[in-house]
Symmetry: C2
């Protein structure tokens, strides 16, 4: 378990600032990925291969699951699709020796050790259909999580933009990649983006290699990856504007003497957003998976965005990260996000379609 | 998941009243069970059976694990013993086609959904040697928890005295088994013990049947079961005295008008303590397991018991149960256990060896 990455997790519980109550965006993405998942499971799940014998348990992992309920919708859709595929295979089989049955399912919900697994388990008890056995697995998906060849299907939705750690260079005043005055590589010098990109490449390569070891022969993986189309200047996107707004909130609080200027300079968001061609090149360079499909998903939540939702969503995702960096006495999170909401309300670009450039890519892989 | 049983769990976190800080007794038991476990794994783990092929993951479940660290000591001892057995099997094998290797291990830590899994995972991160993959599994061990034939070794230490629910009859004023004025069957009418015993038989039968379904062919199970030797009158044991003390604390608080007398009458501890012959008969009646060994474990913590430890231990185990029954506004837990400590200090029988009759039985089973 990588110590640095232990810090990053969604806000737990079910309060107004919790991830559980601020993850509608992610939910819509899962729904738009569902049809593709169904269709590709039907075409690419090879139920005749030995690891897919229906007498074996079919094991599913959701990586970066948070606390639900989105993770339950996602895995229950996968289970439904896999069951359908088994039923079809049975119908078309004439061999009386093949068991006409579907396997038992076991789902591993994974997230960092600081994730609120207690809430996850309670949410599962109350919302899921319980047609499967569950387990929670704490740990970074940038490390090994499961025994070799033990997972049949891995799923990872809108989590892979989290880096395992911030590139060191962006905090070093002597470095060409020093990122003083910004919270992210958007709009920064090329050197800053470069060190973020190097970190992302290493993280994705680790992620793919570990999953390849854990998946059975013919195992499938769906990733929903947040990125930008090739050629887009990310700082001129609504996400770029939102990160700029966050940076200017920190600046204001530092000017007011409410937080340390040095702390502001050393704060950087651990997110990287690849382009589809970058992603494709990374997967091919890793070499462990066949790319079955990379598709752009329809953009969710593009109708009448509410500034309160924009702020609440950001708070749910990075609130703890900020507290971790500044110390719980070093910053008033409420004050920060009050200021953020004011600025978001006064940032028309955030609500201008031309700025909506961030895109979710659906990636369907098959282990070689 | 049985709703009634959701309520029972140890006190989480790592505060002074937590289970993590008040489970020395359980720790000593695990140590005294270690040698027997090592020895019997060596004699009875059949590494030549197909489910034990070292290329497969070796899966261990600890049932009723609480938050650690005892569960880690227990499973790490099992892993060490299993590894030794594999190494020995390799040494004596002349067949070059058999892989000279030990399997990968995956450990499932199970407890009720209200158990503090967040603390469990953090404790594991900080204390374990991490030679195995981990997963947390919420749910009652009186229900199915794992896919069929997926577990190689199950372990359950000092948890099986917890009933899945209180027998209804003990709360019914019209019933012969109504247990007015007592918190347990110790010292009560025979009818009270009888309904507790019926519940225990059903619970154990479920437990054994579910585990038999989940264990692989030749799978092993260790249970450490708290009980009393055949013929012992449990009310005349230190545990009997301790429960009597608890009952008299409730009575005092009711007399002082601090808690409802009706609530006191309906409070009963969900514990049952079998004798070894009762246990043996239950396992044989179930029929799913061969009994490899039933042995009495040396009694732990018999040197200079401290009244504060007696009270703190009881509070860690049943604090939440009491709060659940009386409501968090209906009782001051601090006041109750302050009174308890006073009475324990003035109960010399609790520190008199003649009263130490409760006994832990080590049970080693092999799935038929």
């Amino acid at each position: 378990m990588d110590e640095a990455s232990c810090k990053y997790h969604m806000i737990g519980g079910d309060g107004p600032n919790s991830y559980a109550h601020n993850s509608v965006y992610q939910k819509e993405l899962i729904v738009s990925a569902e049809d593709l998942t169904n269709q590709l499971i039907n075409s690419h799940l090879d139920t005749n291969k030995p690891p897919f014998d229906p007498r074996n348990t079919f094991r599913i992992a959701d990586l970066g699951c948070s606390v639900g309920p989105n993770t339950f919708f996602a895995v229950e859709n996968i289970i439904k699709s896999v069951e359908n595929k088994y039923k079809k295979s049975n119908r078309t089989t004439q061999n009386p020796n093949i068991n006409h049955q579907t396997p038992e399912f076991q789902v591993f919900f994974n997230d960092l050790v600081n994730n609120d697994f207690n809430t996850l388990f309670k949410n599962n008890l109350h919302t899921s259909k319980k047609s499967y056995f569950i387990a929670g697995v704490p740990g970074s998906f940038h490390s090994r999580l499961f025994p070799k060849e033990s997972i049949h299907f891995a799923h990872c939705s809108t989590a892979l933009h989290w880096l395992s750690r911030i590139p060191e260079e962006v905090r070093e005043s002597g470095s060409m990649a020093w990122n003083k005055g910004r919270v992210h590589y958007f709009g920064a010098r090329e050197e800053v983006k470069e060190v973020y990109s190097v970190r992302y490449k290493k993280d994705m390569d680790d992620f793919l290699s570990f999953r390849a070891r854990e998946l059975v022969d013919g195992g499938l993986m769906v990733m929903v990856v947040l990125g930008f189309p090739d050629g887009v200047v990310a700082s001129e996107s609504s996400m770029g504007v939102a990160f700029g707004v966050l940076g200017s909130c920190f600046e204001d609080l530092a000017k007011m003497g409410k937080i340390s200027g040095e702390k502001v300079d050393s704060f950087n968001l651990p997110f990287y957003y690849p382009s589809p061609s970058e992603l494709k090149a990374l997967i091919e360079a890793n070499g462990m998976f066949d790319i079955v499909r990379i598709a752009k998903l329809a953009a969710p939540m593009r109708v009448k965005p509410d500034p309160r939702i924009v702020t609440a969503h950001l708070r749910a995702v990075i609130g703890e990260l900020i507290e971790e960096h500044f110390g719980s006495n070093g910053i008033s999170i409420d004050e920060l996000f009050k200021l953020h909401l004011q600025k978001v309300t006064n940032s028309p670009e955030l609500f201008d379609e031309e700025y909506w450039k961030e895109t979710n890519y659906f990636v369907f892989l098959k282990r070689k």
